[in-house]
């Protein structure tokens, strides 16, 4: 398994500002993922982040809006830029150690944009 922490756990932000979410894992992992989840709904993959390479974004998500850093094998950040109320959601970090293996999830960051 993997123990994952996220900071902040929740935040309330003003529109037009940016928020950086941190994800820390207790051990080295190959693949890290960032998801968005509306409360009570399914998960939508934003991007996949591998260390040493550019993040791969899913359709509908762009680097200018959601820049991601992956400086090492235990840490990643997701920035939500120029926020609008539509960005209000739960953002989840996830990791796995091998292709098609079990994913482990952080507790999430609950974001409210006013």
């Amino acid at each position: 398994s993997a123990v994952i922490s996220q900071k902040p756990s929740r935040d309330i932000c003003q529109r037009g500002t940016s928020l950086t979410i941190q994800c820390q894992v207790d051990s080295q992992v190959t693949m890290m993922f960032w998801y968005r989840q509306q409360p009570g709904q399914s998960l939508t993959l934003i991007a996949t982040a591998n260390q040493g390479s550019e993040a791969t974004y899913e359709s509908g998500f762009v680097i200018d809006k959601f820049p991601i850093s992956r400086p090492n094998l235990t840490f990643s950040t997701l920035t939500v830029s120029n926020m609008s109320p539509e960005d209000s959601s739960i953002y989840l970090c996830s990791v796995e150690r091998g292709a098609r293996e079990t994913q482990y999830f952080g507790p999430g960051t609950r974001l409210l944009v006013l």
Binding site: S1, I4, M31, F33, G40, Q41, S42, L43, L45, T48, T56, L92, S94, A99, R100, T102, Q103, Y104, F105, G106, P107, G108, R110
Partner: protein, 115 residues
């Protein structure tokens, strides 16, 4: 393309009764199937997975799931439900190399266990 369907938005069960949460999938190759549970205000927790081998997979908290290739199903089951099992359950399928190993999640099924 890979897909996974959870036909029930909500399942209601009385405590002590057996529960089933349904999941069907569509994959082009061998399926890698997972069940995750999400408790209120928490991240997702892994319950169990099927990769190969026995069709009946046992997981955490007394849950099990049965892989049925002919029906392309992977239903989650528990013989005796607890009130503490009330949560949101997600079925998921992992894609292979051509799909970038992405996980595709179902819409989720909310389980209510009544005392």
């Amino acid at each position: 393309a890979q897909s996974v369907a959870q036909p029930e938005d909500q399942v209601n069960v009385a405590e002590g009764n057996p529960l089933t949460v349904k999941c069907t999938y569509s994959v082009s190759g061998n399926p890698y199937l997972f069940w995750y549970v999400q408790y209120p205000n928490r991240g997702l927790q892994f319950l169990l997975k099927y990769i190969t081998g026995d069709n009946l997979v046992k997981g955490s908290y007394g849950f099990e799931a049965e892989f049925n290739k002919s029906q392309t199903s992977f239903h989650l089951k528990k013989p005796s439900a607890l009130v503490s099992d009330s949560a949101l359950y997600f079925c998921a399928v992992r894609d292979g190399p051509t799909g970038g190993f992405k996980t595709i999640f179902g819409a989720g099924t909310r389980l209510f266990v009544k005392a």
